[in-house]
């Protein structure tokens, strides 16, 4: 009966494999599990112990000194002797022989619990996740009932009815435990079900069973293995416990449970009898737990996300070095940001931003544009001293009102952040705490940053919300962040950023997650804030249309460098750097429907990884105009348009010839595949 109720997960994997060619993919999860399994001494010992036990047990007839039924009446209930290393029981049978001979059987009966519990639990979870809300509700109710049943009473009742049929009891135990396993697996199965690749498989016409086996089960294997190890230990203990209170397996066949039951009757006259079996049992349980713990440990559980003491020391050191290297000039104009030769690096020495310089005059907006991976966000975060742990300013100065923020202590930055320099991010919800109302968060920020009293702060909050264009501000003050739309949330986040009356606003893709209609409103809002308050803005974006709409100046970044910097109109209308030219040519917004080209221009390949940035022109591998002159480091030179600068040896030549970045036609695919083969291989290596 038990084998029917519990189709082993192993069988299901084979069925899945039969549907499709076996590929290395199926073993990915196992490889992962394997590396963790041998990651700690405890789990290595556990694996060795279990493997040795099973091997010893299966080969027992070949090496054991005695047969399990051999009785030595000269040594009954003896302790360890030369003949009987672990002593003998009440019939003079050799304990060592009996323990090892019966190990496989005992482990096997525990496996019944494991297979039934994990198999049934996983099956139910996959079913509930696949079959929709109604099925899930039914299954969840049933498992709740199962979990509320008194397990001990049920097992004793079964023993009363059919005797100590250990496999049956362990099977029933498995069914009871499966409810808990279902709980553990359900969430994971549901999140796997909601992946887009599951949608894609459904579009293929793959049925519920196929999807569960091919796309859900493999994702669950890790949890399955962990749970199995832990339940295995539970099964062993329960078996021993039942035996101890007298419900062990029938006598003649040796089993650990039986031996414990026997020993329990001689606790007073021959206490040693319990020791060998008990010790082996305890070791086995410990081994299973060690394995379960090792497998269940999250990858990188040891790497903390907080900056380590070492990282903080590192930051302090680099701050001190920077401060020593360049005493900050004190005579800068008010509310001017001047970034000088800024380099940001990972602690291992790789640079993410190199030698970036720009100025932001009061009341103006600077755009930082470029593809992802070009260092825009790192540059922006360094202005606030908010670089992630392990990343720090390596060189250069960030001069704000004459103070070098790159050399400021964390304490000094706390005084500046929010009050003088504030941040709005792409995800407005990240700035808002879901636990508190908008009003609470705004007033708290105003009181902290401006030192106003409670009543004044409330009035200020209302005023701020009105300032960011929220019509029914009084109502919004009382709502929680999840009750408002994305556009509204971004307005609230801007209000929050304004609560300390900052003079410089750093905005990291503030409209990327919003609808264009809402984006237009937020851009108008930022424009009027700049006009009314005279604050300045550093705006990170990848959208050239946003730059055209809002920015006075723009710095185009490529691979950690500024490649072109100057007035927005001169750069967008008259790009001088091939990368700027290419970005504009690739942008479908640059064309009207009438003159939409057949194909857009593209840039072959992709931005190289920071560790692979060459010392030559960094854009050379992708540039349509690259030539032998480009194989040297290229400095920023005046572009001729105002105080604009451009980093290209051919900028003048290109301007004269008036070259376009052409929409490459079909043969470019070969170039593309070549250059990408290279990067793929690099990734792989």
């Amino acid at each position: 009966m038990i084998p029917n109720t519990a189709p082993a997960p192993a069988d299901e994997t084979t069925t899945a494999a039969a549907v499709l060619p076996q590929t290395p993919g199926q073993s990915a999860a196992k490889k992962f599990a394997g590396s963790k399994l041998f990651g700690s001494p405890a789990s290595i010992a556990g694996v060795i112990w279990l493997a040795a036990l099973v091997a010893a047990s299966l080969t027992a007839p070949l090496w054991l000194p005695f047969k399990t039924e051999d009785q030595d009446f000269t040594a009954v209930l003896s302790g360890p002797t030369a003949a009987h290393w672990l002593g003998t029981d009440e019939l003079g049978r050799d304990l060592l022989s009996r323990i090892f001979a019966s190990a496989a059987g005992t482990l096997g009966t525990s496996m019944i619990t494991v297979i039934v519990a994990v198999g049934l639990g996983t099956l139910l979870a996959m079913l509930a996740a696949a079959a929709g809300d109604r099925a899930e509700n039914v299954i969840s109710r049933v498992t709740e009932i199962m979990m509320s049943l008194p397990g001990t009473v049920i097992i004793l009742a079964v023993i009363g009815a059919v005797g100590t049929n250990i496999p049956l009891i362990m099977g029933i135990l498995g069914v009871l435990i499966s409810a808990g396993i279902y709980r553990v697996m359900l969430g994971q199965a549901k999140s796997l079900q909601s992946q887009l690749y599951v949608d894609a498989a459904k579009v293929d016409g793959m049925g519920m069973a196929g999807i569960s086996l091919r796309h859900v089960l493999p994702g669950l294997t890790n949890t399955i293995v962990v749970q199995a190890a832990l339940i295995f230990a539970v099964g062993m203990l329960i078996q021993a416990g039942l035996a101890f209170i007298g419900f062990g397996p029938p006598i003649p066949e040796p089993s650990w449970g039986g031996m414990i039951q026997g020993a329990s009757q001689h606790v007073y006259d021959a206490p040693w009898l319990m020791v060998p079996t008990g010790a082996v049992l305890a070791l086995t349980v410990l081994a299973a737990n060690a394995i379960g713990n090792a497998l269940g440990k999250a990858p990188n559980a040891t790497a903390s996300h907080l900056p380590s003491a070492a990282a903080r020391r590192q930051r302090a050191k680099s701050v001190a070095a920077i401060a020593a290297a360049a005493p900050a000039p004190k005579d800068s104009a008010k509310d001017t940001l001047s970034v000088r030769n800024l380099s940001v690096g990972v602690d291992n020495g790789v640079r993410l931003v190199t030698d970036v310089s720009f100025d932001v005059e009061p009341g103006t907006v600077l755009g930082l544009v470029g593809e992802s991976g070009c260092g825009k966000t790192m540059t922006a975060l360094s202005l606030l001293g908010l670089l992630p742990s392990g990343v720090s300013v390596a060189e250069g100065q960030i001069l704000w009102n004459g103070t070098n923020l790159a050399a400021a202590t964390e304490k000094a930055m706390e005084g500046i952040r929010g009050r003088e320099v504030a941040l709005i991010s792409q995800e407005p919800m990240r700035a808002l705490d879901p636990m508190f109302t908008v009003g609470y968060q705004l007033t708290a920020a105003i009181r902290r940053l401006r030192g106003t009293g409670r009543a004044d702060a409330k009035a200020e909050a209302l005023g701020l919300l009105e300032k960011v264009g929220i019509v029914d501000a009084a109502r919004i003050l009382k709502t929680y962040p999840h009750q408002i739309s994305g556009g509204m949330a971004q307005r609230v986040a801007i209000a929050l950023a304004l609560s300390g009356r900052p003079r410089l606003l750093v905005a990291d893709e503030p409209t990327t997650a919003l609808d264009v209609t809402v984006q237009a409103e937020i851009l108008s809002l930022l424009r009027s804030l700049v006009k009314d308050t005279g604050m300045s803005v550093v705006m990170v974006t990848h959208d050239l249309g946003v730059v055209a709409d809002l920015c006075d100046q723009v710095a185009v970044m490529y691979a950690g460098q500024v490649v072109e910097n100057g007035r927005t109109d001169s750069i967008l209308d008259n790009p001088r750097h091939p990368y700027t030219l290419a970005l504009l040519a690739a942008d479908p917004h640059a064309n009207h429907a009438a003159d939409m080209p057949e194909r857009l221009a593209t840039i072959t390949g992709q931005v190289p990884q920071p560790k692979d940035w060459p010392s030559t022109c960094r854009f050379a591998s992708r540039c349509q105009f690259a030539g032998s002159a480009c194989t040297v480091p290229v400095p920023l030179l005046p572009s001729g348009a105002g105080d604009g600068v451009v980093r290209c040896v051919k900028a003048d030549e290109l301007a004269v010839v008036g070259l376009d970045w052409v929409a490459t036609d079909i043969p470019a695919r070969h170039v593309l595949s070549l250059s990408e083969t290279r990067t793929v291989e690099k990734d792989h290596a």
């Binding site: 894609a200 459904k202 579009v203 029914d472 237009a520 640059a590 857009l600 695919r669 595949s673 083969t677």
Partner: protein, 335 residues
């Protein structure tokens, strides 16, 4: 159910000219039983059709029901009303086996390149999956997977690699390869390039255009960015709160929008030319379209009325039907 009426002529078509896909009065409500009946419909009486080889763009704000329509067509979302016909066959509530019987003719490319490929399967195994489901043997499926990868500009050897070893743009190409490996006639692309950088987006858009020209594919191209849609689509359908506001030739809808919402949408899309953008901004501000933040209109009437500068009592009382105006179909009493 729905008050929408399609006013387009509905003469029975000969089989040769019949549309590849026809969506009629589609209604989708989320939730079950009473909650569903009470909730406003996510898609409310939408009708459109796609001819063989045609690309239709579906645009609108977030939550306007674009993805829901795509999911309903792909059989990923239960339909509450209306019908979906594919090559003359009713697929409104087709199950897995009926979808398999379509022979891989109707396929999809999704937005998120990170979750649209199973990270535990090799690229080859993901590409072969739809073929294997249709009884192609393993060796041939593997062969075709390699061919398809080369077609989308990736090396053949990529079959043995895992998705994590590719960049976002490369993964999106793999998704395109997976969709096209069965030689479909219609591909639903839901925000297929939204998560990509400009240059990568251009590469994938070009690839989609190449494949369309090469194989006579039809696309339902869902995107929130009207400029991206305009590059690929011949016709554009504009949605607002689950209803079609305007539909017509891409150039007419984007260059000469008739519906106040389409006008707002087009005007809000910024162009990378500062002087022109300044003019557009002024034009947008002078439209006087109100912010969408607090606008949840009650049932009946025009869904856009709380934001529309032209709204009157008529707009509150009567839902405007789609009527032809200057080459497009527009659902506005005053267009």
């Amino acid at each position: 159910m729905s008050t929408a009426t399609s006013v387009r002529p509905e003469a029975p078509l000969p089989a040769a000219d019949r549309p590849l896909l026809e969506v009629k009065d589609l209604v989708v409500r989320y939730g079950r039983g009473r909650t569903a009946a009470a909730a406003p419909a996510a898609v409310d009486g939408v009708s459109f059709s796609i001819a063989p080889g045609e690309t239709v763009g579906l645009v609108g704000e977030s939550g306007s029901g674009k993805s829901t329509i795509g999911k309903a067509i792909l059989g990923l979302q239960k339909v509450s009303g209306g019908s979906i016909t594919y090559q003359g066959r009713d697929i409104t509530s087709a199950g897995a086996s009926q979808r398999r019987a379509l022979g891989g003719d109707l396929r999809a490319v999704f937005q998120d390149p990170n979750s649209s490929l199973n990270p535990r399967n090799t690229v080859g195994s993901s590409l072969a999956e739809p073929l294997r489901l249709r009884g192609v043997n393993a060796a041939e499926a593997w062969q075709r997977a390699g061919d398809m990868l080369e077609r989308v500009g990736l090396p053949r050897e990529a079959v043995d690699r895992y998705p994590s070893q590719f960049s976002g743009g490369q993964r999106q190409r793999i998704s395109v390869a997976r969709a096209l490996i069965c030689d479909p006639s219609l591909v639903v692309c839901d925000e297929a390039v939204s998560a990509l950088d400009l240059s990568t987006q251009a590469q994938v858009l070009n690839l989609l255009a190449d494949l369309r020209d090469e194989r006579g594919l039809g696309y339902l191209f869902i995107a929130h960015d009207i400029a991206v849609v305009q590059f690929l689509a011949q016709r554009v359908v504009v949605l607002y709160r689950g209803q079609v506001m305007e539909s017509g030739p891409a150039s007419a809808v984007t260059e000469n929008p008739k519906h106040p919402f389409t006008q707002a949408l087009v005007a809000a899309s910024p162009v990378p030319r500062p002087a022109e953008q300044a003019a557009r901004r002024q034009a947008r501000e002078s439209l006087g379209v109100r912010t969408g933040a607090a606008a949840t209109p009650g049932p009946g009437g025009c869904p856009f009325r709380l934001r529309c500068p032209l709204a009157t009592d008529l707009c509150r009382d009567e839902r405007p039907a789609l009527r032809t105006a200057g080459g497009s179909d527009v659902a506005c009493h005053y267009a």
